[in-house]
């Protein structure tokens, strides 16, 4: 191994420790009793690890149900976003029609509207259709994404025009070209949009709080808030909740990563 490699690995190791530190601390605190956390200087590694905090989380909130809800909603949002964003991006990149450019910029300008400004109108709509306390109320408002559309359009523009021409010559319809060429070629970027959409939905707090009133329909982040007591903060308990909520997403990321890499290596046109 050259010195260069050793150095870069050392650098990477330091970097990853810095990045992972908060997560590792959360894990470590979740295994400590409250009186152990309250020592000075603060301990890094639990002396006598305990699972009591995890048991307390299970006692305090229906975390399994919350995880299920979060997964259902996040998955629905991801599917919705992938469909709407990829179709819109396809139109903006391959189809030629009047006002395409203007429409695209109008589309993009919605990125500038802060999400907070739309809360009340969205809430009223959801309430009027009677979607409070439902999965569709939690998911549908987020099924279209300007950011994802933008990202996909940029990726689609990278697809060689020759492929489009070839497909047309072979008599493929727009839809056929979209499904059998554009989508397979864009797997990595679709993966990015999917993971981004999943995590941002999974981490939502205010919207799920707003549109749900039943414990059974609530999501993980609302659950974490329920672990924060008004008068005393139990660090260990909150951290145990955070770990339980974070582990499924981390697992998903690890699984998704292989998919992403595979997508990246699938080349199409040479030269």
């Amino acid at each position: 191994m050259s010195i260069r490699t050793v150095l870069s690995y050392a650098l990477l190791a330091v970097g990853s420790i810095v990045v992972a530190f908060p997560l590792l601390m959360a894990l470590s605190y979740s295994l400590m009793s409250e009186s152990q956390i309250a020592t000075f200087p603060p301990p890094i590694v639990p002396v006598r690890p305990t699972l009591n905090n995890y048991a307390d989380v299970l006692d305090t909130i229906p975390i399994g149900r919350y995880l299920l809800n979060s997964f259902v909603v996040s998955t629905a949002v991801v599917i919705g976003q992938l469909i709407t964003a990829s179709l819109a991006a396809y139109a903006f990149s391959f189809l030629v029609f009047r006002g395409r450019q203007i429409l695209f910029f109008v589309f993009l300008s919605t990125l500038m509207i802060p999400w907070e400004a739309t809360i009340i109108p969205n809430y009223m709509t959801i309430r009027t259709i009677g979607w409070l306390d439902t999965y569709q109320g939690l998911a549908v408002p987020f099924m279209a994404t300007a950011f994802g559309t933008f990202l996909l359009r940029q990726a689609f523009l990278q697809i060689p025009r020759e492929l489009w021409d070839a497909a047309r010559i072979d008599g493929a319809s727009s839809l056929r070209f979209f499904i059998s060429t554009v989508i397979p070629l864009s797997r990595p970027i679709l993966g990015t949009v999917a993971i981004y959409g999943f995590l941002s939905t999974y981490n939502q707090y205010f919207w799920p709080l707003l549109v749900t009133n039943q414990t059974l329909m609530r999501t993980t982040q609302v659950g974490i808030a329920q672990l924060r007591f008004e008068e005393t903060l139990r660090f260990g308990l909150v951290m145990a909740g955070v770990v339980m909520v974070a582990v499924p997403t981390l697992a998903l990321l690890v699984l998704g990563q292989r998919q992403l890499v595979r997508g990246l290596t699938a080349g199409a046109v040479k030269g």
Partner: protein, 456 residues
């Protein structure tokens, strides 16, 4: 997250102010309770902000109520912390989806009143000639405007001094005689401060969080007003007045302690200050009486916890005392009369001594009716946590006047944040105490003027 919610809250407030005035109109304080013969609704919803053990205690009360009679069923919904709940309430009001009963924190009091969305609790009390003579005066007075009760106090706590008895013994201080005045606290803190061989401090004598509520409490024990018009209780406050000699004395005392190295400054971090006390990094600190049980459980016998009166100026002004904090229950005007009636029935049940005694023992909040102290659960609590007696005596001994009733401002949350910034800038030496006080007062007066104009 906080910032973000703050924004959401501000936005929803604007919307509520624009669109919410339809039923009844804004600022209508003459709202009446429904007629007495209105039959209560079969079910109502109650929004609360209590999680964990406190949330369980709430569900216990409701289960007790639901099984005590067959006409009304109360359903509870946890809506996040106090700020989240208020943000959600504002959104719900704008689209007419508010519940019949809501729990709102102490500093949301003026906002709730000015929203015109509430039936004042006094209307029900007067209609039914419901007796509040056994209610804790310090608690009930906090929720009065022009001597009328706006909401029913529910969970109440106050502030007190927590100290480490073992540390007191170690340095030769009397562990049964905690310091009371500013000078006494400073002197004790000097003795309690420990340094290691290299000169680094291993234990500070005193370590309060930079918390606006503590400043409000210090103003009250100094017998000084926080805002004009009787702390906003005789009439709506038009300006804040904490840039007085009393305000300056508080900041100078605090600053001298931090500069002298015997007060620890955890910054704007209430949990950090509590943790420093648990970890014996500080030997004394001031916080809510409701934290007592948490401290005892966390410290788990590693040292003995003592509680004492909240600090006050050396002159011990006789008009000074403690303000209570916590949250109260509001009956919403937008709900049908039958639901309001049902909510009132529940509120009356929640104020019975038996329920209050159980509530105290489950949560560590003050019982609101004095008779609750004679119930079994409350007595058990007193034996288990004798330190709580300090808290009870302290509010009992507080004279009741406008200073100790505490300030009510529509912009109280902002005022609290602004005082925190003010204290911090003094402690860090960015501003002199008087300049910081004046700047903060000027900022808040502008905010009050804007608020009062927007809510005529």
């Amino acid at each position: 997250m906080r910032k973000f919610l703050g924004l959401a809250l501000a936005l929803t407030m604007v919307t509520a102010a624009c669109g919410g005035s339809a039923p009844g109109g804004g600022g209508d304080s003459s709202a009446l309770a429904p007629a007495k013969d209105v039959a209560p609704a079969a079910s109502i919803t109650w929004w609360h902000a209590m999680s964990g053990v406190n949330g369980d205690a709430i569900n216990k009360i409701v289960a007790g109520f639901n099984s005590s009679q067959s006409k009304i069923k109360v359903e509870t919904v946890f809506q996040g912390n106090y700020d989240d709940l208020l943000a959600k309430l504002n959104t719900a009001i704008a689209s007419n989806a508010a519940p019949a009963l809501v729990q709102v924190y102490d500093i949301g009091q003026a906002y709730m009143r000015d929203s015109g969305q509430v039936v004042p609790m006094q209307a029900f009390i007067d209609r039914d000639k419901f007796s509040t003579s056994d209610f804790e005066p310090a608690v009930i007075n906090y929720y009065k405007y022009q001597d009328k009760l706006q909401s029913m106090p529910f969970n109440s706590s106050s502030s007190m001094l927590y100290y480490n008895k073992d540390a007191f013994k170690e340095v030769g201080l009397d562990p049964n005689k905690p310091p009371v005045t500013f000078t006494e606290v400073a002197d004790a803190a000097k003795k309690l401060t420990k340094k290691d061989a290299s000169g680094a401090t291993t234990r500070w004598g005193f370590g309060p969080s930079v918390y606006g509520w503590l400043f409000e409490q210090l103003m009250a024990t100094s017998a000084a007003l926080y805002a004009d018009n009787g702390n906003g209780r005789d009439n709506r406050a038009t300006k804040v007045v904490w840039n007085s000699a009393a305000g300056k004395a508080i900041l100078d005392w605090w600053k001298a302690g931090v500069d002298g190295g015997y007060f620890f400054n955890p910054g704007i971090d209430n949990d950090g200050a509590a943790n420093a006390f648990n970890a014996q990094k500080t030997a004394m600190y001031i916080e809510s009486t409701a934290r007592l049980r948490g401290h005892i459980n966390t410290v788990a016998g590693k040292f003995e916890i003592g509680t004492g009166l909240y600090p006050r100026p050396d002159s011990k002004p006789k008009d000074g005392g403690n303000i209570i904090g916590g949250a109260s229950l509001y009956i919403m005007k937008s709900r049908p009369a039958a639901e309001q009636q049902a909510a009132w029935e529940f509120v009356k049940y929640a104020m019975t001594p038996a329920v209050q005694g159980q509530w105290q023992s489950d949560t560590g909040y003050y019982p609101i009716v004095k008779a609750a102290y004679d119930t079994g659960p409350s007595k058990e609590w007193a034996t288990k946590y004798p330190q709580f007696l300090t808290a009870v005596n302290q509010i009992r001994e507080s004279p009741q006047n406008r200073m100790t009733n505490g300030a009510v401002l529509g912009v109280m949350p902002q005022a609290r944040q602004r005082t925190q910034k003010m204290i911090e800038s003094v402690l860090l030496g960015r501003e002199t105490s008087q300049a910081a006080l004046d700047a903060a007062v000027a900022d808040m007066n502008k905010a009050i003027e804007t608020y009062n104009k927007a809510n005529p």
